[in-house]
């Protein structure tokens, strides 16, 4: 896989954008995600109201892939119900594992579909999935 398919315009924009990079006032969830091999270390915060993800944001450090993946995920799940969000996490992780490959099924992931081929870069898979795992962990404990 060439660098083009991973260091894309879209990923770079999310990597450098700061609209999801902030702290929430009263997060219901604050979940640390850490990848000991490369040092990606984020804290994902989520505000929940009536079972709906009202707001989400992140802080911490990480590579372009983990940062972009986190930011895209936040854009995706905001406004969704907990169940919907968990469903999306499942679909994303299945996409990464190549368990789901059909375009129609992946559409719901919106921009995040761009990570479909990250498994061709095995050393970076963990960066792409970090935030998604953290969200799942966090939602478990609501």
């Amino acid at each position: 896989m060439g660098l083009e398919s991973i260091y894309t315009q879209l990923i770079m924009e999310h990597n450098r954008s700061s609209h999801n990079r902030r702290a929430l006032k009263n997060p219901d969830i604050s979940e640390r995600g850490y990848n000991p091999n490369c040092g990606d270390d984020i804290v994902l915060e989520v505000e929940i109201e009536d079972n709906i993800i009202k707001d989400a944001a992140y802080s911490g450090v990480g590579c372009a892939i983990s940062q972009a993946s986190t930011s895209m995920m936040i854009d995706l799940v905001k406004g969704k119900s907990i169940d919907e969000a968990l469903k999306l996490v499942d679909i994303f992780l299945s996409m990464i594992k190549k368990d789901i490959t059909a375009e129609e099924e992946l559409e719901v992931l919106e921009d995040s579909i761009i990570f479909q081929n990250i498994s061709n870069m095995p050393a970076r898979v963990k960066c792409a999935v970090l935030a998604w795992h953290s969200l799942r962990e966090g939602l478990k404990h609501v």
């Binding site: 490369c38 372009a64 970076r124």
Partner: protein
């Protein structure tokens, strides 16, 4: 002995003569693991085809040959680091196991409540975690020597931390992150004054510079085969005879015994006391062949070669405004390792992008999280040299570095 010429030796290394991602491979991660020359692979293949047997136990030819090969490698290691006696050389699996053995057998036995164990902040996790466990279990105190802004331990810092309560000082000879060569002689001197034992992690030093354990007067000195052209799965623990004799064994079973009854056992003398189970003879043979290869080139030539490459690299790297370099820049006090960062780019992205240009470097915490924290960095990228690297590797690296920021959307 006719010295091999360091130019052209790359032909001895099959892994290095390949293309990756459409580029020639520039392997700049020898601090993680080194590539093996055919001479080492051949020596192991030969052992496996002619002499393989379980050593020490058989009265037949294959077992006798295996025993001889194993003993010969031990002898070679002894001479390589100038130990006093062969029985001071214990074969282990790697540096990590050697350090665990020392911490468990020596540390757990002799460290008492209130004693202090001194490390440097730049230690590899393998030289931190075993001591944390000793400190916790024994009620001892773990203290750190910090680095100055050039990445070095000053005399004042040693004097501040090493004191009358110090029982053990455990320190890397060369930092695997910054390349700093730590002042072992000075540390040993201070340790002697207070009666402390010095454990030196030589994983990064032994492959790259002449190490004489008698001259250093270290009490323990450890290293790994795979970082010095040898195979994985074999490492060395040197210890002064008296200390080794006083330590309880670590792994139990197999060959390391004298009498075993249902409820009790007595142990064989050193080195066997510390080598339980079937020995890794082919690993020892590979390490022996690696030592022979290194000696044929000569450690002085290797160091010289690496320092020339370092100068060449630093000259170019220091010119690039968005590159930051951690640790000493003075070549005398460091080995062939450079840790660096690129403004605005996470080190992990640096590695991936360089890989696309055929350049293999490493990014992360390099198993030295306390150092990262101390430096205030989440991670760094690291380049490291060995005898097979060339200016061509450096040129390829520099070209790739200059492309990195482009991929992340920066002008340059």
């Amino acid at each position: 002995m006719v010295k091999l010429d360091i130019e052209g030796i790359i032909d001895d290394f099959p892994t290095l003569n390949q293309d990756v991602n459409g580029h020639r491979l520039a392997y700049l991660d020898s601090a993680a693991t080194t590539q093996r020359p055919i001479q080492v692979l051949d020596a192991m293949a030969k052992y496996n085809k002619i002499s393989n047997g379980n050593p020490h136990r058989g009265a037949y030819q294959l077992s006798i040959r295996a025993t001889e090969e194993y003993d010969f490698s031990r002898q070679r290691v002894k001479e390589f680091i100038n130990a006093r006696e062969v029985k001071e050389i214990i074969f282990t699996r790697n540096t990590t196991e050697s350090l665990n053995l020392i911490a468990n057998s020596y540390g757990m036995e002799f460290v008492k409540e209130g004693d202090e164990i001194v490390l440097s902040i730049s230690e590899h996790h393998s030289n931190i975690l075993p001591w944390q466990r000793v400190a916790r279990q024994k009620g001892a105190v773990l203290k750190y020597m910090y680095l100055d802004d050039k990445g070095r331990i000053t005399d004042e810092e040693m004097d501040r931390v090493i004191g009358s309560k110090t029982k053990i000082v455990a320190i890397a000879h060369m930092s695997n992150v910054l390349g700093t060569i730590h002042p072992i002689r000075e540390i040993v001197e201070r340790a002697r004054r207070v009666g402390a034992t010095v454990v030196v992690d030589g994983a990064q030093a032994v492959p790259h510079m002449k190490v004489d354990v008698r001259e250093l007067d270290a009490d323990f000195y450890v290293f790994s085969g795979h970082k010095m052209l040898g195979p994985m799965g074999i490492g060395v623990l040197y210890g002064k005879r008296k200390l080794l004799e006083d330590m309880p064994p670590y792994l139990l079973g197999g060959d390391m015994i004298e009498y075993v009854t249902e409820q009790d056992a007595t142990f064989a003398p050193i080195p066997h006391k510390f080598e339980a189970g079937t020995q890794n003879v082919e690993g020892a043979v590979g390490l022996g062949a690696a030592i022979e290869y290194i000696e044929d080139i000569g450690l002085d030539s290797i160091r010289d070669h690496e320092m020339k490459l370092m100068e060449y690299t630093l000259d170019r790297l220091l010119d690039i405004p968005y590159v930051g370099i951690q640790g000493p820049k003075d070549l005398k006090s460091k080995g062939g390792i450079i840790s660096f960062t690129i403004d605005g780019v996470h080190p992990h992205d640096v590695s991936t992008i360089l890989d696309a240009y055929g350049v293999a470097i490493r990014s992360g915490h390099h198993c030295a999280q306390p150092l990262m924290k101390y430096m205030g960095l989440p991670a760094t990228s690291r380049l490291s040299f060995y005898l097979y690297n060339t200016k061509e590797d450096v040129d390829q690296f520099i070209r790739a570095i200059k492309n990195v920021r482009k991929w992340l959307g920066y002008g340059a």
